[in-house]
């Protein structure tokens, strides 16, 4: 059979389709017009036109986080490409499989400062897992295959493919040949962990009196939640999740002690500080978790399972490192534990739980919600949890609302909680919610945001109306950049430098109505639950709930700077 001949542009789309890519989020422009024409002339790959390329990257990222499949976005050269940068950096920090295809000026014009030319490979270099500049149409299929392979294997991450316009020319056709199997001599990610190391970790575990599992985004990205659950339940030990790991272990489970870290629960942070054995899985001992690393968990033996060797002992020295996929290692670890004739010290474990339950009794997430009038932001999230039966996919932006959404919504499954944890990208929530809807059209998708963050990508309300994307936007409107204000309250004598814009906020209800959506404003707590029920009853509509919340609320607990895990503010006046 003769090999089919295609133009470079056709190859781009055909390869994506042959690799199982259903959606491309993007925005057209000069350098990618040939590719857009090829998109137009087929039906396998659906293109979603965003209103800003940053949103294309976030939407593809949100799609990837919810579906577990790679997200793909497409932008033109120059400003189109640079607009994706924040989205790429977001995906890089959270290890999300993302393939970003950017147009480039024709090969013979590269380096001439041509119209809409940017050195995209150079600009994106520090925030990609890898990148490719394609120099010949024939290389397009294999390059896309390699990009998808690199993005999705090992520790996932974003890959950029920069394609000069001339090699996508419609009248120059070449044989369309894909690789049978992608193989790179310089890239062979490990899956299996070293069984000797697992054995050592097991021996130490059997001696532990105060063990804890500290699990993060690697468990979700590595599809290891079931393995985590199985092992943790068999052991009966406490489990804490990082911000990126929420949902990896069920939030309502009795062994779950909550999120840890800067805004982690009292019980999670104290259990970590007092632990003598920490099983760290798919985490990176981020500074937002550890507080001062010199004071981090002084008595703990640290076992660290991660697929990325560079994550091990980067900030906190690990005693027993195990490089491998979290799913494989946890399965093997559990198998060895079950096979051994020894068990955890039940008496010690019982005492450990008694201690933890004592910390739990402190009820660190308690807040005072009056029966009428002012709405506490925490109460909004708890109402959301109730109205959605704990089943919605929740995306968030960045700030106080993000922490409230992390602490007060109990995530019962992986890929249910979608947020920009590493980079902390305001403007992530709405486009990520769009991607989430494409990944799981049957789910309710709520975007928890604030009046600050939502304005960073509010133009996507237009995309949502074009494609009828029924995002439920929960806007915690306190008329301040809340987290900035909290820090200014705590560290800058309440001097609110550029953290408010009270007189110039838009009327969000009118604004979303102008885009063809439904807006609901809530100002009193007695109206909240009914309004939220009404919001979620409108299944096919985007509903924007503009909820006026208490302006003076802070997020607690909060780590005391430079302290240990156990050092926290629990309220505005009480310390741990």
């Amino acid at each position: 059979m003769a090999i089919e001949e295609l133009s470079g542009a056709e190859m781009v789309i055909r390869t994506l389709s042959d690799e199982g890519i259903k959606y491309v989020f993007g925005y057209p422009g000069g350098a990618v017009l040939h590719i857009y024409d090829a998109l137009f002339r087929q039906t396998e790959v659906e293109h979603i036109l965003v209103r800003h390329e940053q949103a294309a990257a976030h939407a593809a990222d949100g799609y990837a986080r919810v579906s577990g499949k790679p997200g793909v976005c497409l932008a033109t050269s120059g400003p189109g490409a640079t607009n994706t940068i924040t989205g790429i950096a977001t995906a890089y920090m959270d290890s999300i499989p993302l393939v970003v295809i950017t147009g480039q000026v024709p090969l013979n014009m590269i380096g001439e400062d041509a119209f809409q030319e940017t050195d995209m490979i150079g600009v994106s270099r520090p925030i990609v897992k890898h990148s490719f500049l394609v120099r010949h149409a024939r290389d397009i299929p294999s390059t896309i295959q390699k990009a998808l392979y690199i993005a999705t294997t090992g520790r996932p991450g974003p890959v950029v493919i920069d394609i000069p316009k001339d090699i996508t020319a419609p009248n120059e056709k070449f044989p369309y040949e894909r690789l049978k199997k992608v193989k790179l001599r310089s890239y062979n990610p490990l899956t299996k962990g070293h069984s000797g190391q697992i054995k050592k970790a097991l021996q130490a575990l059997l001696l532990a009196k105060k063990p804890i599992i500290y699990a993060g985004g690697g468990v979700i990205q590595g599809n290891a939640s079931q393995e985590l659950k199985d092992f943790a339940i068999e052991l009966g030990v406490p489990v804490t999740n990082t911000l990126m790991g929420l949902g990896a272990f069920p939030g309502e489970h009795e062994q779950f002690v909550g999120m840890l870290g800067m805004h982690g629960t009292y019980e999670a942070n104290l259990a970590m500080h007092n632990a003598d054995y920490i099983l760290a899985v798919g985490v990176r001992f981020d500074d937002r978790v550890t507080n001062n690393v010199k004071r981090f968990c002084p008595d703990a033996l640290i076992v660290h399972i991660d697929i990325d060797p560079a994550s091990i002992s980067k900030t906190v020295q690990s005693h027993i490192p195990i490089v491998g996929s979290s799913a494989w290692v946890l399965r093997e670890f559990k198998r060895m534990y079950t096979a051994s004739d020894q068990q955890l010290d039940a008496g010690a474990l019982k005492q450990w739980w008694a201690q933890i339950n004592g910390w739990r009794a402190r009820d660190c997430l308690a807040y005072n919600q009056p029966k009428t009038g002012v709405i506490k932001p925490q109460h909004v999230i708890q109402t959301l949890y109730k109205v959605t039966n704990g089943d919605a996919i929740v995306t968030s932006d960045v700030g106080q609302h993000q922490m409230f959404a992390a602490l007060y919504y109990k995530y019962c499954r992986p890929r249910q909680w979608i947020n920009s944890g590493g980079l902390g990208t305001m403007g992530f929530g709405l486009p990520a919610a769009m991607g989430a809807i494409y990944a799981d059209p049957s789910a309710s998708v709520a975007c928890v945001t604030g009046e600050g963050s939502i304005q960073m990508n509010i133009q996507e309300l237009s995309t949502c109306s074009q494609y009828s994307l029924p995002v439920k936007i929960i806007n915690l409107n306190n008329e301040y950049l809340g987290m900035v204000k909290q820090w200014q309250d705590m560290n800058y004598g309440g001097r609110y430098a550029s953290s408010t814009y009270q007189d110039s906020l838009p009327d969000f209800v009118k604004l979303v109505e102008a885009y063809g959506h439904v807006g609901i404003r809530v100002t009193r707590v007695e109206d909240l639950e009914d309004a939220m029920k009404e919001c979620f009853a409108l299944k096919d509509r985007l509903v924007f709930m503009d909820i006026k919340v208490d302006k003076d609320e802070h997020v607690y607990p909060m780590h005391i700077k430079d302290g240990a895990m156990r050092d926290m503010w629990l309220t505005k006046t009480e310390r741990s």
């Binding site: 060797p309 560079a310 980067k314």
Partner: protein, 163 residues
Amino acid sequence: MRRIISVLIENEAGALSRVIGLFSQRSYNIESLTVAPTEDKTLSRLTITTSGDDKVLEQITKQLNKLIEVVKLVDLTDGPHVERELMLVKIKASGSARDEVKRTADIFRGQIVDVGVDLYTVQLAGTSDKLDAFLVAVDQGSVVEVVRSGISGIARGDRILTV
């Protein structure tokens, strides 16, 4: 502590910039860097001289290994190895200094590779310490221009860095 890391990397456009970018991005030192294709034209070999404590060095090697185009690397300073640097020095050489420069070059087993009316160009190969010593030995005021290649190195015995 000074370390010499040898890296085999795909001989592709942009690969070197990823290595250099990594060092600047993560605030690692580069004291010297040499790079050229190997006998296998698809591979380049880099020799990077860097410094830092064990923790930093461990991160440097891990982060280098993480680069997709890095095929293999070895820390030469982990074992016995040979390291060499090439230096070309232009030195004022007129009158009595002409003999003196020649004598000093001979002592250091250097060669005069270019001769001008008032200048010699001396070529010298050896460890970096030896090149430093030569520059101290010749009259400081007479050195006009110095160019050094940076260190290249290879392990002794049967330790071999190859694909």
